[in-house]
């Protein structure tokens, strides 16, 4: 193997400082010296730690032909004809990346009767919008969406492609990346450019949020990533901003899709949807009984908030799975997240810790939810929550 971390055994003092920092268990002691096994991913954590600079991690070189790719492209997701918020977040981030690289920003828009929305993408920062507008794209299928986006990428050759890490993005972008034959980084929470190497630095949580990893795609183009919703901020709309709209014709007759969408069922259980809410009130097992979940609903109503739940509450059958926040539920990042009677298991935290302001109410001062909280309130939720509802109602009365 050409790519390998090397340890200079003359320099290595056998101090073992590198062993615990390796996230992949790739270092072992052999005859008093550190040695690398094949779990190594070249992450470089060991080299940073080594006090005597005995560890060398190879620098990755760029692949051939990468100059032929230029520009940043975002996938502008829509559902039922409405452009998703994440598309605007990606446009803002994409603009920033494109400006750093001094290239243009384009958007890919797929759907039925969506052409009219293309201008909104331009007003939000796109220089060019590729549109495929066709009845068969009304609902989402991996095959047709994948086919269309692959063609757009093959014709326009962007160096970076970003899509939302949503149910749709995470489903069909892997197909596109495989078709094109390039790498893909899932669910990124931070993106920046290494200007020296002209590489996209893609940062994402792994191991259930216990570690963060920065990933690059050095040899293949485009560099592709799905990006977590609500983490990137939206930009300001620039009415009248000009750009180019490029409709794309697809030969639908030659497509013979193997899968067919039969029905789209929307299940909006509450007024406000979790993914789009600015405020979320979440209840956990601390509520003790199903009927007490009414407290969460009432507080949410006062705050015009969506209702979330821990898996503990969902498994107890107090509320439907659609409300679950966390690793196996939804990932949310509202402006305000209020966790009531939630212990803050790591699987819950990964789904909500990027919220702007987090309020935790828990009777146990050692509950891990307090580790991510902006405001911690130790106390009995059955006293605090009714008081909150009371005071909020009183304010409403005064207004």
């Amino acid at each position: 193997m050409t790519l390998q971390t090397r340890i200079d055994s003359d320099k290595c003092t056998g101090c073992e400082a590198c062993l615990p920092v390796c996230p992949f268990n790739a270092l072992e002691m052999k005859e008093g010296k550190a040695s690398v096994n094949d779990q190594c991913t070249l992450c470089g954590a060991c080299a940073d730690e080594c006090p005597v600079e005995a560890i060398f991690v190879p620098v990755l070189e760029k692949g051939e032909g990468s100059e032929e790719y230029s520009g940043v492209m975002i996938f502008a997701e829509q559902r039922l004809g409405k452009i998703s918020e994440v598309a605007y977040e990606l446009l803002h981030k994409g603009r920033e990346l494109a400006d750093t690289l001094k290239v243009s920003l384009s958007a890919a828009l797929l759907g039925k009767d969506v052409s009219a929305s293309a201008n909104r993408l331009i007003e939000n920062g796109a220089d060019r919008v590729y549109v495929v507008d066709h009845p068969s794209l009304e609902g989402f299928t991996d095959e047709l969406y994948g086919e269309c986006l692959t063609r757009i990428i093959r014709t326009s050759r962007p160096e970076i492609v970003l899509a939302g890490a949503t149910s749709i993005g995470r489903s069909f972008i892997p197909k596109v990346a495989t078709q094109i034959g390039t790498g893909l980084t899932a669910d990124c929470t931070d993106l920046s450019i290494d200007t020296e190497q002209r590489l996209l630095l893609q940062t994402r949580p792994a191991f259930g949020g216990n570690i963060m990893a920065t990933i690059v795609c050095p040899q293949k183009r485009p560099q592709m990533a799905t990006v977590r919703a609500k983490v990137m901020k939206k930009g300001v709309v620039q009415p009248g901003r000009s750009g180019e709209i490029i409709p794309l014709e697809i030969d639908w007759a030659e497509m013979s899709p193997k899968s067919r969408l039969l029905e789209i069922v929307e299940e909006i259980t509450e007024k406000v949807r979790l993914a789009e809410a600015d405020v979320i009130v979440t209840g956990g097992r601390g509520l003790q009984e199903e009927k007490h979940f009414a407290l969460i609903r009432e507080l949410a109503e006062q705050l015009d908030a969506a209702v979330g739940a821990s898996r503990g509450a969902v498994d107890a059958g107090w509320i439907s799975y659609a409300h679950q926040v966390g690793q196996t539920g939804k990932t949310v990042a509202p402006k305000l997240y209020i966790a009531v009677g939630v212990s803050g298991a790591v699987q819950h935290l990964v789904g909500m810790q990027s919220s702007d302001t987090i309020v935790a109410i828990n009777s146990d001062p050692h509950a891990p939810i307090f580790d991510v909280a902006s405001y911690g309130m130790v106390g009995d939720l059955f006293e605090i929550v009714p008081e909150m509802i009371k005071q909020l109602k009183a304010r409403m009365g005064n207004n």
């Binding site: 892997p174 197909k175 990346a177 495989t178 990933i215 069922v265 799975y321 990027s354 902006s374």
Partner: protein, 262 residues
């Protein structure tokens, strides 16, 4: 029906913690488990076999010790197991992993359905399932929460979406990735446990799979991890103390100042 279930052996992330002082992963005593979502995939495969007959083959790519997860799957009722293992497979990203698994599946032979978990809890990428399907040129549906019907070379499923669910139909053979709602996994049977001990498990490497050595493992990976670090502590925490009435009063005051409430 021949159903292939892709399972991955992962560290139990519930137990993976970061050392507050050294900012490193504490690995002592962390067990290896079958990726929880893959247990739902396995259960669904077994249910289809119970209904239509046929067999379930479990397949994993991993180090030699991943064999224990395959034996565990047999104890639940899987009929056959295949381990894709080779030093050259190490360090694979999802691109190289799906290539290797697709090669393994071609080696296993004709199938009607491939089942994967929604994602693996170590990497959390959810990219391997679609990647395998694309390489095998078969259709796939992600986030399947229910299989409604199978018959006449077609499968009808429900796919969980952000705001509800979609109903889809696709031709077989196909690949599905499943979410937790799809079923409640069974417990292993005594007979299964006995068989798990004695069952022969095929092990294939690059050569046996006739795989391109340039496309497997770290060498075949398009992406590279260049840095790993602890998640940043978001912001300083402030405790709000006093009687419940005082606590609430203070909190609402602060939230109003931040313009989070009116």
């Amino acid at each position: 029906m021949h159903i292939i279930v892709c399972i991955k052996q992962v560290p139990d992330t519930k137990q993976v913690r970061l050392d507050e002082k050294t900012h490193t992963l504490i690995r002592e005593g962390v067990e290896s488990i079958i990726n929880p979502y893959d247990m739902y995939a396995l259960e669904e495969g077994l249910r289809i076999k119970d209904r239509f007959g046929g067999k379930v083959t479990v397949c994993t790519m991993g180090p030699p010790q991943a064999e224990s997860s395959l034996r565990e799957a047999i104890s639940y009722g899987a009929d056959e197991a295949v381990l894709l293992s080779d030093r050259a497979f190490a360090g694979a990203d999802t691109w190289a992993t799906s290539y290797t698994l697709a090669k393994g599946i071609e080696k296993i032979g004709p199938f009607d359905l491939i089942l994967c978990g929604k994602q693996a809890v170590d990497g959390d990428t959810a990219q391997v399932g679609p990647g395998i399907a694309e390489r095998l040129a078969i259709p796939y549906v992600t986030w399947v929460r229910k299989i409604e019907e199978i018959g006449d070379g077609l499968i009808r499923v429900q796919r969980l979406m952000d705001d509800g669910y979609d109903r889809l139909e696709t031709t077989l053979p196909a690949l599905l990735t499943v979410v937790k709602e799809i079923n409640e996994p069974r417990v292993p049977s005594l007979k299964g446990k006995m068989r798990a001990k004695s069952q022969k498990i095929g092990v294939y490497g690059t050569k046996e799979l006739e795989a391109d050595p340039e496309r497997v493992g770290l060498q075949g990976s398009a992406t590279q991890v260049i840095k790993v670090f602890p998640p940043p502590r978001l912001k300083e925490r402030e405790w709000i103390e006093g009687t419940p009435v005082e606590q609430v009063g203070q909190l609402l005051g602060k939230l109003t100042k931040l313009k989070l409430i009116i």
